[in-house]
Amino acid sequence: MTKEQIIEKLPYETPFLFVDEIIEVDEDGIKGSYTLKPDEYFYQGHFKDHPITPGVILTEIMAQIGLVCLGIFTLKEQIDKNTIGVAMSSTTINFYKSVLPGEKVLVKSEKEYFRFNKLKCKVEMFNEEQKLIAKGEIAGMIV
């Protein structure tokens, strides 16, 4: 499966698709990136006159690249675009730096385990200066 095919199989659409590129992927982990558009819808309200990317959105970016893309790669042919369902089951993320409109973020994910349709990963997010933005564990189920 190519990196482009993984993105095609994602069950998301604008304005909630947060994967631009898969940089590397194998059975044990994945790296990908997303650039926050200056006009993302959530900047209208987070915060008043002071746009900063919400932590929940950073978590979502980490989950879409780190878990869902890796899950699609792992399951490969078994996944049909019309039937894939994903559910986040737990997150523990610490945040270290804020992300402003227009910034590009890099997500690195390392598989802890994939058993009985549950994927758990250690996920990190970096900015273009390679500074750590966020780090933690995310788990989800393919349903």
């Binding site: 559910a87 089951s89 737990s90 385990y113 058993r115 009985f116 349709n117 549950k118 788990a139 989800g140 189920m141």
Partner: protein, 84 residues
């Protein structure tokens, strides 16, 4: 290992994932992990992984599908232990 020992170990494993503490206090062989203890499906996977570590066994998909109640779990664990 006696059934009581097995039950006690199983109870220790599931405790951190239980949302309904009353269900845990009243735990019997008929207790259903999802219905009675309000363990979610993702944590049910963690229960299975912890069972594998604790008893040194491997649970396959069929075993996982069966392990929804205390009784069924004990049967699966006993079968796997016997086959070791």
């Amino acid at each position: 290992m006696t059934k009581e020992e097995l039950l006690s170990k199983l109870k220790t494993i599931i405790e951190p994932y239980v949302q309904n503490q009353e269900g845990l206090q009243n735990m019997s062989e008929d207790t259903n992990f999802i219905e009675d203890l309000e363990i979610n499906s993702a944590n049910l996977v963690d229960v299975i992984l912890d069972v594998e570590d604790e008893f040194g066994i491997e649970i396959d998909n069929d075993g996982m599908d069966k392990m929804l109640t205390v009784k069924a779990s004990i049967e699966v664990i006993q079968d796997k232990l016997a086959a070791k």
